[in-house]
């Protein structure tokens, strides 16, 4: 099958990749990861096999780029006396300060990844397992645990009077 212009790949998958990046990183870092993901994908695009699952390919790249961003942030990190609130809207003021996405970001790594790639990106558990390692069943469990934890977090937030 002939290869589509890369612009069409961005148009088809740009929104989903942005949501995946937001599920993994705070808004400013998510923007960086989105740009890095598509730049890396653009470079590698001529070598992508015909008929490959483009969505899974992009999510795999986003997964690696998000890890890079987190590592880079770790190196930059300065110890603070008090941990900042988990749910914060730091970042570009135009980004929605969204409790749901902040709650996803607060999940343990494996649950966060499984939720991001299965529920946000829509990949089957089999593809998620390929990205994360482990079995499809383990990926399914991590996604289910993640959703349960999210419901708990969001329910607790609703109980807190504002």
């Amino acid at each position: 099958m002939p290869k589509a212009p890369f612009e069409r790949i961005v148009a088809q998958h740009g929104r989903t990749v942005l949501r995946v990046c937001r599920a993994l990183l705070d808004p400013t870092d998510a923007d960086d990861a989105w740009a890095e993901t598509f730049l890396a994908a653009l470079r590698a695009y001529p070598d992508l096999p015909a008929g490959a699952n483009v969505q899974a390919w992009l999510v795999t790249i986003a997964h690696r780029k998000a890890i890079d961003v987190i590592r880079a942030r770790g190196r930059r990190a300065v110890p603070v006396a008090e941990a900042p609130d988990a749910i914060s809207a730091i970042g570009n003021p135009s980004e929605p300060a969204d409790e749901l996405w902040a709650a996803v970001r607060a999940l343990p790594d494996r649950q966060r990844h499984a939720v991001a790639y299965h529920h946000v990106a829509g990949l089957p558990h089999r593809d998620v397992a390929q990205i994360l390692g482990g079995t499809p069943e383990a990926a399914r469990r991590a996604a289910a645990d993640g959703i349960r934890a999210l419901r708990r977090t969001l329910a607790q937030q609703e109980e807190i009077p504002t």
């Binding site: 002939p2 212009p5 612009e7 961005v10 929104r15 989105w34 740009a35 653009l42 929605p96 999210l150």
Partner: protein, 251 residues
Amino acid sequence: MNGPVHELTAELASDRPEDGAILRRLHQRLATAAGLQGVLDVTYRTLDTPVGSLLLAGTPVGLVRIAFAEQGHDRVLDDLAQRVGPRILADARALDTVVRELEEYFAGTRRRFDLPLDHRLISGFRAVVLAQLPRIDYGHTASYAQVAQAAGNPGAVRAVGSACGANPLPIVVPCHRVVRSDGSPGGYAGGPAAKKVLLALESAAGSAAGSAAGSAAGSAAGSAAGSAAGSAAESAANPAAESAAESVTGG
């Protein structure tokens, strides 16, 4: 019990309208970075003109393709992906010299284009034909038969028509100045109406500005004509086959 879970997962999976502006900004950032790092095969944008929306596509070498809306911009981009490379991005800030010169042309203040061109989509006898076209002065026309003669193959009138129809750089390489022997405009990749608009534009701007510039350009082109005829004969060794192989696009 399942209701809230379903709502939650649906929200995780759904696009948000407010992301449109963010994505446009990120797209521009991607296009700029990709351009600077030299990882693009083709950059493109569109321009609204009196002959409709034009697709303008460039490579690192130069302008490689101009296409009319009638030709289907998506189809043209698919073709570029196959023939040039699939690393293609839109960039609203790219090709600004091309845009400026085209705007001047449509304003009637520009007679010649001074742009780096990438000729990789043109080959064989078509290249010989298209090389003749800049010699037709602004505001003037030549017949398909005259161009066939100038290209060194008087019998290849049909091939001239299809070379013009397949011109990857219309307007800049002025195939609109090639008309039928009876003076009627003939076919055009952008549609016959577009051809009339371009000829009328040049006719109006040309008569307003006088003929001094036209005759100077004419003599410069004349001196180059001899050398082109030689290469025309080589490339057109088998004009009948060339002609038969052409698609019936019309010039």
